[in-house]
C-alpha cells in the first residue's frame, strides 16, 4: 500500500460542483425520512425528517454529536434498524446502475430485492470491527462468504478475489492473513479486513459509520486515505458518519450537520467550514481545540447539553442552547432547510431577514 497520500482533491467552491452534479443523478435520494423508536416511555424521534442526496464518486460526511441520529439514519438506509425502531415516513430511493429505482424505505423486509442490494450495491463498515466480524471464523472465509452470495464465482475465484482485496487494503502478506482469525489482527488490520469485506462486491455506495473512531491517528490517516483512494478507483459514493470535524475536513466533499434527528445545515465542505450559517455549526466549529491554536485560551463551548430525546423542545430543537434564540419565533415553528449561499440551512435567522452576522 502506498504510504504517501494519493488524493485527488475536489474543486474549490469557485469551480461550481453543483452544475457538474446536476448532470448526474444521485445514487441515493433520502427524502422526509423519519425513523422513530416506540419505547415504553414514549416515542423517540431518532431521525425526524431528513433529506439527503448522495452522488457517485463523492463523499458525504454526516457530522453530529452522539444521539443526533446519524447512525440510525445510516442503518435505516440498509433497513437494519433494531426494534422498537421503525421507519414511519419518507423515502429512500436507490438508483441502480441500470437506472432502475427502488424505495428502500418501503421494500419488504427480507425481500429478494432488498437482500440483493445489501452487501452488494450498498455496503457498510462499522465502528468496532471486532463486533462486526464473526469471532470464530477466519477472515478469508467471511469475505468469501460475501462474494459467493453476491457474485457469480467459483470458490477458487472467490478466494483469489478475497486475497486480492486484502492486498488492496494494505494488509501485508494477504495469503497468510486470509487464514487468520479476527482476534489475531490488530485494530487497524481488522478495520482493513472489514473494508476489504465491504468492498469485495464493489458496492456503488459505501456507508462508513465512524470507521476510524476506535483507531490511532496514524492508522486513522491510512484508513481515510484508503477509503478516498478506493472511492476514486471504483467511482463509489461514500457516506461517512463521524463526530470528528478533523476527519470531515480531510475527506468530505459534501457535509450534512445533524442535530436531534434533523439536518440543520448541508453544503459543500468549503461552505460549511468557511462560511457556516447555522448557529450550531458555528458553535461546533468554534469549540474544537485545534493544533496550532493559541493555548490556554478558554474554548467557546456550547452551553448546556443535548436535551433528552423524550423532551424535545418545541420549534427549533437547538433553541435551548442557541445564542441567537429569538423568543416568539424559534419556539413556535420548526425551521426548514432553505438555500442560503452555497449551502442549505434550517434556521430562522436566515428566513426572517434578521441576518445578524
Amino acid at each position: 500500500m502506498p504510504l504517501t497520500p494519493m488524493r485527488t482533491d475536489i474543486e474549490p467552491p469557485s469551480g461550481q460542483p453543483a452544475s457538474s452534479r446536476a448532470t448526474t443523478q444521485p445514487i441515493l435520494e433520502i427524502s422526509g425520512l423519519k425513523t422513530h423508536f416506540f419505547t415504553d416511555d414514549g416515542v423517540v424521534k431518532a431521525v425526524d425528517g431528513v433529506d439527503l442526496d448522495i452522488y457517485g464518486n463523492r463523499t458525504l460526511c454526516i457530522l453530529g454529536e452522539s444521539g443526533c441520529g446519524k447512525s440510525i439514519m445510516a442503518r435505516s438506509v440498509l433497513r437494519i434498524v433494531d426494534a422498537p425502531g421503525r421507519i414511519t415516513a419518507g423515502h429512500i430511493v436507490y438508483r441502480a446502475a441500470d437506472g432502475a429505482t427502488i424505495d428502500l424505505a418501503t421494500a419488504k423486509q427480507g425481500s429478494k430485492a432488498l437482500r440483493e442490494i445489501r452487501g452488494q450495491d450498498i455496503a457498510m463498515i462499522f465502528q468496532e470491527p471486532m463486533v462486526s466480524l464473526g469471532p470464530i471464523q477466519k477472515i478469508g472465509k467471511q469475505i468469501v462468504e460475501t462474494i459467493l452470495l453476491h457474485r457469480n464465482m467459483s470458490k477458487a475465484e472467490a478466494r483469489e478475489t478475497a486475497i486480492d482485496m486484502l492486498d488492496r487494503v494494505g494488509i501485508p502478506d494477504p495469503a497468510k492473513r486470509y487464514e487468520a482469525y479476527p482476534f489475531e489482527l490488530s485494530g487497524g488490520m481488522r478495520q482493513r479486513a472489514m473494508i476489504a469485506m465491504a468492498l469485495s462486491c464493489q458496492p456503488r455506495l459505501l456507508i462508513a459509520d465512524e470507521p476510524t473512531t476506535a483507531l490511532d491517528v496514524t492508522t486513522q490517516a491510512q484508513i481515510l486515505d484508503l477509503i478516498a483512494e478506493l472511492k476514486e478507483e471504483f467511482k463509489m459514493a461514500v457516506m461517512l458518519i463521524t463526530h470528528d470535524l478533523g476527519v470531515v475536513a480531510e475527506v468530505a466533499e459534501d457535509v450534512a450537520v445533524m442535530y436531534m434527528g434533523k439536518v440543520v445545515e448541508k453544503g459543500d465542505v468549503y461552505s460549511i467550514f468557511e462560511n457556516p450559517q447555522h448557529p450550531y455549526t458555528r458553535a461546533l466549529l468554534a469549540s474544537v481545540p485545534r493544533v496550532g491554536m493559541k493555548k490556554k485560551e478558554r474554548l467557546p463551548a456550547i452551553r448546556g447539553m443535548v436535551p433528552h430525546p423524550l423532551a424535545r423542545p418545541s420549534g427549533c430543537t437547538f433553541r435551548t442552547r442557541c445564542d441567537s434564540y429569538m423568543p416568539g419565533t424559534c419556539d413556535q415553528r420548526q425551521p426548514v432547510l432553505t438555500p442560503h449561499g452555497n449551502s442549505e440551512v434550517a434556521c430562522f435567522l436566515h428566513t426572517q431577514g434578521a441576518d445578524n452576522d
Binding site: 504510504l3 504517501t4 497520500p5 488524493r7 482533491d9 454529536e65 452522539s66 501485508p172 485494530g187 490511532d216 491517528v217 496514524t218 492508522t219 486513522q220 490517516a221 481515510l224 463526530h243 470528528d244 470535524l245 478533523g246 476527519v247 470531515v248 475536513a249 480531510e250 475527506v251 468530505a252 465542505v269 468549503y270 467550514f273 468557511e274 458553535a283 461546533l284 466549529l285 469549540s287 474544537v288 481545540p289 485545534r290 493544533v291 496550532g292 491554536m293 493555548k295 490556554k296 485560551e297 478558554r298 474554548l299 467557546p300 463551548a301 456550547i302 452551553r303 447539553m305 443535548v306
Partner: protein, 327 residues
Amino acid sequence: MTDTILDVQDLEMHFPIGGGFFGGAKSTVKAVDNVSFTVFRGETFGIVGESGSGKTTLGRCVMRVLKPSGGTITFNRKDKPAAELVGEDTGHLKDIWRDLRMVFQDPQSSLNPRLRVLEIVGQCLRKSENLKGAELADRVSTLLEQVGLRKEFLMRYPNAFSGGQRQRLGIARALATNPELVVADEAVSALDVSIQAQTLNLLQDLQEQFELTYVFIAHDLAVVEHICDRIAVMYLGQIVELAETDELFQNPKHPYTRALLSAVPVPDPRARNRARVPVGLAENDPTDTGCRFASRCPHRTELCRSTPPPRKQINGAEVLCHYAGEV
C-alpha cells in the same frame, strides 16, 4: 518557579507473560521502560501516545495503583515530607491518595451505579475527614457547585446523568480531598465536542482556583496542545520526546512525533493536501537491541537497529533518537 511536585526516575513496569502455574514467565512486556520526567507545581504535564504506548500504565504507576518493577517516584507535597511512592506500603498510600487523585476516562464505568452522588463524591471525605450527615452533605453540595452541577443532584444515582455530567462528578470526586496533583487519564476522550470544550474549560478554571497540578494523559493532540504546558510523547513504553508545548508542536524532533503530528486531521478542508510524514506498519515485536521505532521509521539506518538510541538534549527538549536534530 521550578518547584518540583513529582519526580519520576528510571521507572519500569514489566509484566510477565506466558508460563503456567508452576513454570516461570516466558517473557515480559515492558509496558513502561526506563521513563524519567519531572512535573512542576502548578503546571499541566501532558502524556500522549497511541494505544499500547504505555501511557495509562504510566499514569497508574504514578498513582501507585500498580506496583512498578523498578525506579523511583518522588512526590513532594506542600508542608509535608517528600514521599517515595515506589516502596510505600498501602497504609501510607491511603494518606498520600488524599493529595494525589485521579480522573478516569470512562464516566460510565468509573461511577458505582448503586451509590448516590452523595456517597460517590463524599465517600472519601467520610473516611479521611470523618464527615457525617449535614456536614458531609454541605461539603458535597459545594463541590457539586464548583464543577457546575446543581446541589439538588445530591441524592440521585449516576444513571440520571449524561456523559458530561458524569465526568463532572468524577472531577468533583477527585477534588473532594483538596488534592495537589490530579492524574487525568483520557478525561475528555469519551465526551462529545461541545461537552469536551466545557470540561476542558472547567479543568482550567479549577486549576487556577485550587492551584492544581495536572498530569494529563490523552491521545488527542489538539486537546493536549490546548491544555498542557509540557508534553511527553510515548512510544512502546518509552518517552521518545519531552518538550514544552510550543517547541514540540512547532519543532518536533523525533520522527515519531513528526508522524503523529502530521497524521492529526486538521479541521480545515484547505489543509487536506499537506504533506504527510509516512509511517510504515510495525513489522514485528521491537527488540531490545535497537530503537523501538526503527521498523516504522523513514530515517532508519543499521545503527538504529543495533544500538538503543541515546537521550539527547536539543533546545530544551529531550529526544530519544540517534539522529535527533539531524533528520
